[in-house]
Each structure stands twice: as structure tokens, then as C-alpha cells.
Symmetry: C2
Subunit: 352 residues, 2 copies
């Protein structure tokens, strides 16, 4: 099956289960209080708003590629990844002061808008979003408890999940610091990408699926060797899309990285390769919340002129090739190999 069809098929299955599970949770919350029902409804809307579902599809496909047969059970684990992802995104959006996510308002903005007559609606919105994230983390665990795996596997899955969340938090800390410091190195950025993207988006999900399928330690190691370069490529691609991608397809403005002052590899390379005047222009633009369209266009020009766009694109391609070689030299069955190779190409070619 073509990768697009696989992605579409499982996206639908995941979203159906997500919807059913969250409807159950709304019914449960309704018995507690109106405000619990309300937050659960917002949580449902936020989770069903879309997104690529890349992590949850990786879980399912790694499971199937390594011989797993219990589709309903693995879909529950995939839904757990979606819930955990929403938990981290909601907290991340508070931290970054973001207004848009998946084409709609961020959780803190939903509450700030709805209760705008309150004394300090921004503060109120952030408070509710902190709690919404905490509830989502608990729901992410809950659906693993309910899944049709045995206790030993459930513990292993929970343990893995937990470890990934902790590492992602460490990555988030490096990220917060790096947007505030001026002395960020390429090494800092690599570290952050490894934690926040390679482990969180690629290795973690692949390991979850593999653990559920009863993979050997050696198989897990192969998946790590594949996942880490692929994840780095994924992040570089994300940074490129964040500056040159379509706002409509991405569901978020293509100037948000600059406004937040994010030091992406793309930006770091650009600063390194630019002349004094260009350097100053970019340094002033980073973190400027009122940047104009014209200024953004000028930044994009500098990124191209300094060959930083080319550099990033080539690096991403090299990393994907490295990842694919790991799979080609592995002893995975043809079925699994095919999928892992296809997903590597997909990740670098995607336009959102």
C-alpha cells in the first residue's frame, strides 16, 4: 500500500478511537461538575482538530512490522501517544505564548476568550491550560491501563512513555533557555533536536510499537540507529517549513519561530554565513513580536543568499540516507523494511 493510503487509513482509525474515548470521558466528567465537562469538551475538540498523527502511526506500523497482531490493543497505545502529545503541546503553547495550534486557538486562548470578562483573562486561560495538560497526561496513562495487553507489557509501555516524556521535558528546558541566550551553539541545538524531536517523535513511538510486539533488544537498537538521524532530519525539515512553508497547510503562521526568537539550525547557519549588516538585521528580528511581512521576506532572502537553506536541505537528505542504510542492512522482514524506508522518504518530502 502507498504510504499516503496507510497514513490516511490509520489516521481515521486513531481518530475514531480518540473520539469514542473522549466521549466516555466527557460523560464521566459531566457527573463531577459543569466545569469538568467543559474542560473535557475543549480537550476533545483540541485533540480532534487534526494533526499528522505521525507518532501514533509510527507506533502502529512498528508494531505490525515486527509481527504484532492485536490491532485494537495497539490503537489504544497510539491514542495514548496522541493524548500525551496534546498534553505537551498545551503546556508548550503557554510557555511560547502561542495563539494558534492546528488551525485553531491554543488551549489558554480558548479559555481567555470565553471568559474575557474576568479580571485577568490571560492569567485565567493559562491556569486552565496548565490543568488541561495535566488531565491529558493522566488520560494518556489511563488508556494504556485499559488496553488489551498483559500487565507486564503495560508496565513496559508505561515505563517507556514516561521516560520519553521526561526527556522531552529536558529538551524543552534547553529550548526555553536557548530562546533567551545569545550564546547558543550548534551542539546545543543538536542536543535539543535529539531530545525534543528524534527521541520524542521518532524513536519513542517506534520503540513503543516494537515493545508491544515483543521486539528483541537488538531490534530496539536497530530502530534507535534509524530513528535518531531520521528525527534530526525531521526537525530540520520542520524548521524549513516553519520559515518557507504554507501557513494554511501548517495551521500556524510562518513567522512564529522568528517571533519567538527560536535558534534553529537554519537561523544559526544564516547568522554564521552572513555579513555584518545581515547578522545585525537577523539578531534584531529574533524575538520581535511585531515583525512585518517585508522584514520576514528579507530574512527569507538572507537565508537563501547565504546558502543556509541549501545547507540545511542537504544535511536533512544525508541524515535520511543514513537512516535508510540502517534499515537496508537490518534483518527486519521485507514488509517491515519497506515501511521504514517509505516513512523516511515521506518525512523529508512532506510539505506540512
Amino acid at each position: 500500500m502507498a504510504i499516503d493510503k496507510i497514513l490516511k487509513l490509520y489516521k481515521e482509525k486513531i481518530e475514531l478511537r480518540l473520539r469514542n474515548f473522549l466521549d466516555e470521558k466527557i460523560a464521566e466528567a459531566e457527573k463531577i461538575s459543569n466545569s469538568s465537562r467543559e474542560i473535557m469538551q475543549y480537550i476533545k475538540e483540541f485533540n480532534l482538530r487534526g494533526g499528522k498523527r505521525i507518532r501514533s502511526i509510527l507506533i502502529i506500523m512498528a508494531y505490525k512490522s515486527l509481527g504484532g497482531k492485536n490491532e485494537n490493543a495497539i490503537i489504544d497505545i497510539a491514542v495514548s501517544a496522541e493524548l500525551m502529545n496534546s498534553f505537551l503541546l498545551i503546556h508548550d503553547d503557554i510557555i511560547d505564548d502561542d495563539e494558534l495550534r492546528r488551525g485553531g486557538p491554543t488551549m489558554h486562548r480558548i479559555y481567555a476568550k470565553k471568559y474575557k470578562s474576568y479580571d485577568n483573562p490571560k492569567k485565567f486561560g493559562e491556569s486552565m491550560a496548565i490543568i488541561a495538560g495535566d488531565i491529558l497526561a493522566s488520560l494518556g496513562n489511563e488508556i494504556i491501563f485499559k488496553s488489551d495487553f498483559d500487565e507486564e507489557k503495560k508496565i513496559k509501555l508505561l515505563q517507556k512513555f514516561n521516560k520519553v516524556v521526561k526527556l522531552t521535558c529536558y529538551g524543552e528546558i534547553v529550548d526555553v533557555f536557548s530562546s533567551l541566550r545569545t550564546d547558543v551553539t550548534e551542539e546545543d541545538i543538536s542536543k535539543m533536536h535529539k531530545l525534543k524531536t528524534a527521541i520524542y517523535t521518532i524513536e519513542g513511538p517506534l520503540h513503543m510499537g516494537a515493545i508491544a510486539a515483543g521486539a528483541s533488544d537488538e531490534q530496539l537498537k536497530t530502530l534507535t540507529n534509524y530513528a535518531i538521524p531520521l528525527g534530526q532530519a525531521f526537525q530540520i525539515k520542520d524548521d524549513i517549513l516553519g520559515m518557507f512553508g504554507s501557513e494554511v497547510k501548517l495551521g500556524k503562521p510562518a513567522d512564529s519561530d522568528i517571533k519567538e526568537g527560536k535558534k534553529t539550525l537554519l537561523i544559526l547557519k544564516t547568522i554564521e554565513n552572513s555579513d555584518k549588516e545581515q547578522k545585525e538585521f537577523i539578531r534584531n528580528a529574533l524575538g520581535n513580536k511585531n515583525i512585518t511581512k517585508e522584514e520576514m521576506m528579507k530574512i527569507r532572502e538572507i537565508v537563501k543568499q547565504t546558502s543556509s537553506l541549501d545547507y540545511s536541505q542537504h544535511l536533512a537528505e544525508k541524515l535520511v540516507k543514513k537512516a535508510k542504510n540502517v534499515i537496508k542492512n537490518s534483518d527486519f522482514e521485507k514488509h517491515g523494511k519497506d515501511f521504514f524506508l517509505k516513512i523516511a522518504d515521506y518525512i523529508i518530502k512532506r510539505d506540512y
Copy 2:
């Protein structure tokens, strides 16, 4: 053994394990990055700052009272409760804009002070505290995975914990709303107390210990019937201490409830029983961050004059009596009965 000695003995054991576990986590975080090591050190300091350890002692004593023998294993579960409690407190402190906790700065204040040269240290502090809370939730799960119970019990314990955290979050939402609304009823407050205190502080821990000891459904039911009124009494006592207690013993100012605009039962009763001028005075004081010592003294006077202090104290005593009767009529063994009766008296007599 006298209750004070039991509390002291287990407090020490819990704190020793907490210290060892967090030292391991610091060593682990050190390998990731300086900022990970830093947050873990703050997490350790925050956790070892003190606190009554009431939840974790209830876990241990419920376990022992119902025949549990593996002390090391149950101490890990108790430490999990401490870590989870810190997670919720750190997020709660951001929401309430609190500066002090257990006699030291709140987590967001620690970071805001240390990085005061940053652009927006308050925002930065809150961001780091959101992440610190998320890391603590993950550590709370981690130590359960490591505990020396079998997989089935671990899943049951995690499931229980998870449910308690979710209900506590629902209680927190009611709490946030109630400090912003003027139409809060005694029923709203009872609901919040049930979720945030009775379930979280008393029933949850007792059930955790009981589940670990392999308790029957009937024994869990008895513990619920004991825990709910006891928890309500605990909360009423907390509100009284929050207004009339010693700042030194409590480790937080005795005007913080008023400054936050918290609608405690004590305050609600006072408003109900006061004359027009007193009502207005209290309504204006609620949420006033700049309240003076004189104004606080006047509020305390009104609370006494309207017999609201007496009303609250009597209600708390009645609830404790109800809780004790459940235990007296239960078929728990003498050893367990004694402990549950003693702890009920302790909760109502404590001065911090």
C-alpha cells in the same frame, strides 16, 4: 506507639528514600545537560524542604494496618505520593501566584529570582515551573515501576493514582472558578473539598496502601466511608489554620487565602451571618493583594463575632466523630483500628 512517634519515624524513612531517589535522578540528568541537572537539584530541594508527609504516612499505615509486610516496597509508593504532591503544588502555586511554599520560595519564584536579568523573569519562572511539575509527575510514576510489587499490583496502584490526580485537577478547576465568581454556594465548596482534599489527601492514600496490601472491596468501601468526612474535617481545619494559625508553623502567610479571594466555608458562613457593613468589608477584602494587617485583624474579629469560627470548629468535630464511628463498627483488626482512630484525632488537633 504514640501517633507523633509513628509520624516522625516514617517521615524520616520517607525522606531518606526521597533523597536517595532524587540523588540518582540528579546523576542521570547531569548526563543530559546543565539545565536538566539544575532543575533536578531544585526539585530535590523543594521535595526535601519538609511538609507533613501526611499522604505518604497514610499510605504506609493503611498498608501495615491491613497486613502488608514489604516495608521497602510500600515506602516507594509513599515517595511516589510525595513526588505527585509536589507536582500538583508547583502547578497550583503558579495558578495562585503564590510566593512561598513550605517556608521557601515557590518553584516559579526560584527561577524568576535566579534569572532575574532575563527579559521577563516572571514568565520565565512560570515556564520552568510548568516543566518542573511535569517532570515530577513522571518521577512519581517511575518510582512505582521500580517498586518491589508484582506487575498486577503496580498497574492497580498506577491506575488508582492516576484517577486521584484527575479528580484533584477537577477540584482545582472548581477552585479557580470559585475564586473568580461571586455566586459560589456551600454545595460548590463541599464538592471542591471532596475532590481536592477528602479524595486527594485521605481516601486516595488510604486506598493506595490498602490496594498494595491486597484489601477486599468491602475494606476499601469502609475506608471511603471513613475518609470522606475526615477529609472534609481536614479541609475545614486547614481553612481555620489559614486564617488563625501561626505563619511560622504553616510556612506560609496567614492572609494568603484572603488575598487569593478563596471562598472557604469559614468565609462563606461569615458573609452569611454578618451585617451589611461587615459583608461589604469582607467582599472588598477578598482578592485584595494589598490587604493590611489591621484589615486582616478586623476580618478575624468578624469571623469570631458571627460565630462562624465556632460553627466551623463544631462541624469539623462532628465529621471526625462520624469518621471514627465507621472505624469502630468495622471488622478491621485492633492494630489497624487504633491507628485510624488516632489519625482522626491528630488531624483535627494539629496546629500546622
